[in-house]
């Protein structure tokens, strides 16, 4: 960079900037806006190493689990008693990979912000864009732009692999055009995007990567898994209303009357993520960097 020198002690005259050879062109009119912040966050999420691993891992886990699930459950189908056969849910079997995919995508969401605190790049981020809500909103949009397509690819490939395995084992299976299949695949993808946003919100509130990982594991895996071990009413309530459990109904085909229907369950999860995200916006705006 070259600048025409001015005498020390005198402020740079405004005109001197124009005749500098490599002068920086004037900025966007009205200053930097949300789209600039979004562009910045998009570059950052794309160039984070974890993003590649998470996207690949999510796809592999989702598809692999569907294939394994389909094959083993398909083999068992022949030996099931008739009352269990009526609850056999080929749709959910093929999409069960969401349970692990939600964790990897939530971790990505968490990392989008905790990696900034861990590496202290948050200082540069917020010096460049002091508008906290703009930064967090840009992070949310950039994250969704990764998580939603990844989620959709995961549910689609899971469905395809799972149904193929079930068909191969001679068990009931579903086609894309069958009732509920499109809802489960698209809704499952939306659910996975919500999980990523939950991770972002939790990471913003907690800041530490380790504590965020622990919290997300607890909320997404441990509580749903150990809910049935809780005392009676609490176990029923957890299975029905714990947001990730309720939201998971979006991928099911068989209706258990004790549980919420797919879209009401999804709404519980969406409401929960909205509340945690709103809290994250509030805290992020007020907190010193």
């Amino acid at each position: 960079m070259t600048r025409t020198g001015t005498a020390p002690g005198s402020p740079a005259p405004a005109g001197a900037r124009a005749d500098r050879p490599a002068a920086l062109p004037a900025g966007p009119r009205g200053g930097a806006r949300f789209r600039h912040a979004l562009h910045a966050e998009w570059i950052k999420v794309r160039t984070m190493r974890s993003t590649r691993y998470v996207v690949l891992g999510t796809l592999l886990l989702g598809t692999g689990l569907a294939s394994l699930n389909g094959a083993s459950s398909g083999d068992e189908y022949a030996s099931l008693p008739p009352q269990d056969r009526s609850a056999f849910d080929p749709l959910a079997l093929s999409l069960r990979g969401y349970i692990l995919a939600q964790v990897t995508l939530a971790l990505l969401g968490g990392l989008v912000v905790t990696a900034e605190y861990g590496s202290r790049t948050i200082i540069g981020t917020l010096s460049a864009i002091p508008h906290r809500r703009r930064v967090l909103a840009a992070k949310a949009v950039a994250l969704t732009a990764i998580a939603l397509p990844t989620g959709l690819a995961t549910t689609l490939s899971g469905f395809a692999a799972g149904q193929a395995a079930l068909k191969g084992a001679g068990a009931p299976h579903t086609a894309l055009a069958d009732e509920g299949a499109a809802r489960a695949i698209l809704g499952g993808a939306l659910y996975l995007a919500l999980a990523a946003l939950l991770g972002l919100a939790v990471g913003t509130l907690i800041r530490s990567t380790t504590a965020t990982v622990t919290t997300l594991f607890t909320a997404l895996l441990i509580v749903p898994a150990f809910g049935p071990a809780l005392p009676g009413r609490l176990a029923d309530w957890t299975a029905r209303y714990w947001p990730p459990s309720a939201g998971g109904q979006i991928v099911t085909g068989y209706r258990d009357p004790a549980l919420l229907d797919p879209w009401p369950g999804f709404a519980v999860m969406a409401g929960c993520v909205t509340i945690v995200l709103a809290a994250a916006f509030l805290v992020f705006r007020r907190r010193d960097a």
Partner: protein, 305 residues
């Protein structure tokens, strides 16, 4: 230009920055000095809008940080050179910062060239040495070609070559008419580079003065004298107009008169001299004395509160 007016930051019971007011002018390098924990970084963070002041204001070019239309074009900062994501390259690190302020991407290559990182720009920043990270931090500060630079301890941990480079850069930036604010806890790091000094201790302003005035006020000439008859020589020198402090068993520290006069007094009185050494007290000592008082004063004040 940076204007700090009545700036105060309180963390619970602790007053980190206390009614601080000073100005960093264009075309000058202003040294922002104080012992560790004096509140230098907190002040800089408030100037950049990272921390919210409890009261008072800090503006750059008349605007607080959150009102800047494109902050990187108004003020470039190096607060923490280690602050890079290890897996991200210098190129992408800068590209993201530039994008957020609508700075064209060609500018990234220009600042990488300027700090000499072009060759390693695509490598993961985690593999950089501290000196290279420091250069990357400077590149980020220069991205918006800002009229104001804020550098927090930029010489920390640098090798001599890096130190010379940063000092030269600061002088050049000031010569181009920019306002440069550089913090340090060591006077010796900045005494050859800065035009103006702002010294703080315990969050309070201790001195706000030109470097030349500071040197004139605080550099003392003194003469170290050793003699087996030191006890007898002392009063003779005092009579000649000197101020004399004993130093060790046979030594004296003399101020007020020069080595030649001391030698003459000794010769006239037949006093044997073993040492006669003119010395200049360093600015570092003057600075430490200055901040030492503030620290003690602040500690006492804290106890009686």
């Amino acid at each position: 230009m940076i204007e700090v007016r009545g700036l105060t930051k309180r963390y619970g019971e602790v007053l980190a920055v206390d009614e601080l007011s000073f100005t960093v002018r264009a075309g000058e390098v202003t040294g922002f000095l104080g012992p560790n924990g004096a509140g230098k970084s907190t002040t800089m963070r408030m100037i950049l809008g990272l921390d919210a002041p409890t009261s008072g204001t800090a503006t750059v070019g008349g605007l607080p940080a959150r009102a800047q239309p494109a902050p990187l074009r108004a003020v470039g900062a190096l607060l923490d050179a280690g602050a890079v994501l290890p897996g991200r390259s210098a190129h992408h690190h800068l590209l993201a910062l530039a994008a957020g302020n609508g700075i064209p991407r060609g500018r990234v290559a220009a600042v990488l060239e300027e700090v000499g990182l072009t060759r390693v720009a695509r490598r993961a920043a985690g593999t950089y040495s501290l000196g290279m990270k420091q250069r990357l931090g400077i590149a980020a500060a220069l991205l918006g070609d800002p009229p104001v630079l804020v550098l927090d301890e930029p010489l920390n941990g640098l090798d001599p070559e890096g130190i010379v480079w940063i000092r030269g850069l600061m002088r050049r930036m000031a010569a181009e008419g920019r306002a440069v604010m550089v913090s340090s806890h060591l006077m010796s790091e900045v005494e050859l580079t800065v035009d103006h000094l702002v010294v703080i201790g315990r969050g309070r302003l201790i001195a706000d003065t030109g470097m030349a005035e500071f040197v004139a006020a605080h550099s003392r000439r003194e003469v170290a004298v050793r003699s087996p008859q030191a006890a007898g020589l002392g009063p003779l020198l005092t009579a000649a107009g000197a101020r004399v402090r004993p130093s060790g068993a046979d030594g004296l520290t003399v101020t007020g008169i020069g080595a030649a006069e001391i030698g003459a007094v000794a010769a006239a009185n037949g006093v044997e001299l073993h040492e006669l050494t003119p010395r200049q007290t360093s600015l570092e000592e003057a600075f430490m004395e200055l901040t030492q008082h503030s620290v003690e004063y602040a500690a006492e004040r804290g106890e009686t509160r």
